[in-house]
């Protein structure tokens, strides 16, 4: 077989993998732009392109005070929505996996529907409710929070439910056989096993909440979250600090994922 044929063969065998890697590269292209632009010193506020290198954006992220206040509001809403949605959603997941009762089908449907509805429809119906209930003038932090908890809930239920359903029942049985009470078994066996699912659900909630624009924009009144700030400046010139925030979000999430993976490996090693 000639080297050329061999090469052709190798390419043929790895074609799908190459294609997959290309798609991944495509997904990362905008991230490179975000990182690059975070070091950009623009000549004009209106032309969005890379002009020259600077560290100023990183050293002074809050040049535009309104960006940082929008950012801190988004973080507050994200954290609160995550805590409430994770607690309520985890309880629901336990109910749906561990308990048999009438109406489970209805409950499952109600959990599924928010994930299958377009955001614009959910956002506008919530707005219709708030206006009809006389809260049209008080749209802001609390209405955003209510909306975020609502759409995060389903994702928490689905994530924790998947983890619970894949759980090995024998471990809990073993704990009970060794005379652990129901509460002890739950605290020392069930909860640690489900915890990765709960943590994943919480991370997902936070990023969904932090990133939401469509529902938030309809129910925010005059309050500005970080995505709404970006939307606003997109029309009149984007400060490069927006890209600093984007880069930091990316790095933090990578750090969390890598940390979780390392922790998992360490635990596996400890068990082995």
């Amino acid at each position: 077989m000639s080297p050329l044929q061999r090469m052709g063969r190798w390419v043929g065998q790895h074609l799908v993998l190459m294609g997959g890697l290309l798609v991944i590269v495509y997904m990362f292209v905008p991230i490179f732009v975000v990182v690059l632009m975070s070091f950009n010193k623009p000549k004009s506020k209106l032309i969005y392109r890379f002009d020259s290198f600077t560290l100023q954006n990183w050293l002074h992220p809050c040049t535009d005070q309104s960006m940082c206040s929008a950012l801190s509001r988004s973080i507050q809403i994200g954290l609160l929505a995550t805590v409430v949605a994770t607690v309520l959603g985890t309880l629901m997941a336990f109910a749906l996996v561990r308990h048999r009762f009438e109406g489970r089908a209805v409950a499952n449907l109600l959990v599924f529907l928010p994930m299958a509805s377009p955001e614009i429809v959910m956002g506008s119906s919530l707005l219709a409710l708030f206006v009809a209930a006389g809260f049209g003038g008080q749209l802001g932090f609390w209405t955003i929070l209510i909306a975020h908890i609502m759409f995060c809930l389903s994702f928490v239920v689905v994530t924790v439910r998947a983890r619970l359903a894949g759980l090995d029942n024998n471990l809990e049985q073993a704990a009970m056989d060794l005379y652990a009470t129901e509460a002890q078994t739950f605290r020392r066996v069930t909860l640690p096993l489900v915890f990765p699912g709960i943590l994943g659900a919480a991370l997902l909630s936070f990023s969904l909440s932090f990133d939401d624009f469509i529902i938030t924009n309809l129910n925010a009144g005059n309050t500005t979250t970080f995505p709404m700030y970006v939307w606003g400046v997109a029309q009149r010139g984007v400060p490069m600090q927006v890209n600093v925030v984007g880069t930091v979000m990316f790095l933090v999430s990578i750090a969390i994922v890598v940390g979780a993976e390392l922790n998992r490996r360490r635990q596996e090693k400890a068990l082995a």
Binding site: L17, F28, L110, M115, I120, A128, L129, F210, A234, M249
Partner: protein
Amino acid sequence: MTASTAAAPIAPATPPEQPDRPPARKRKLTGYWLLLPGMLWLAVFFVIPFYSLVATSLYDRTGSVLQGYDMAWQFSNYWHTLDDYWRPLVRSLWYGGLATLICLALGYVLAYAIAFKSGRWKNLMLVLVIAPFFTSFLVRTLSWKLLLRDDGFIVNALQFVHLLGSDGRLLATPVAVIAGLVYNFLPFMVLPLFASIDKIDHRLIEAASDLYSRPIVGFFKVTWPLSLPGVVSGTLLTFIPAVGDYINAELLGSPKQRMIGNVIQSLFTDANDYPAAGALSMMLMLLILAMVLFYVRRAGTEELL
């Protein structure tokens, strides 16, 4: 008492008072209690709002948010808004559908590569799929605006190979909007596809090739049908948000690429025409629901074949 002792020899070895199986009645109630707070939240802030939306869509359009609307059962709201805005509605379905198909093609290659070809890099590749999406949706879309700009690298390259005219552009065209939609909703396609393809038993594919089927035939007769559940959920999870999206149309397109989301949003926040916006929202919801039901039916029967 006598009955239970009589039944004891044939009963399973586990005694009835085992701690992990409390009486069924108590467990049943616990289930309801665990479910209650979350379900209440969904009922009040997801189900009831739909009722408000229906009501809003039937209000008298001559009212205003400040003075309040009168309930007039105005079904004509639907005809009027459809007459005014059928173009963006059709355009949204068209853009969303096309973006979903492109996502399916790209996503299938990626999901297949991760599931079957990545070996020990599987977890890493999965993380790489999700990682870009932890950076703000809007910031990423702004990056595309930069990449696709008129004197940018991509436009110049396309002009060089004459795929674009010398004054051709990508921004403010349907191409940019659809490309943005594809980019933003790709993970919603890849993850369910991966879940489905990863579960496929390799021996079935080997069996096909042992029986002298060419790889491409084996793919369409074995792999593709077995991955259909992932295809169905992936396309739904992509199509539904893509149709309702208006961020891509706004940032990457022009008023000529306005989608239905742009219209609903501006009717609510700029024009303050709540009844029209409500009617459009309802129509979008019903349209999507009808398409999804039809599609799931079709896909369901295909799966049985």
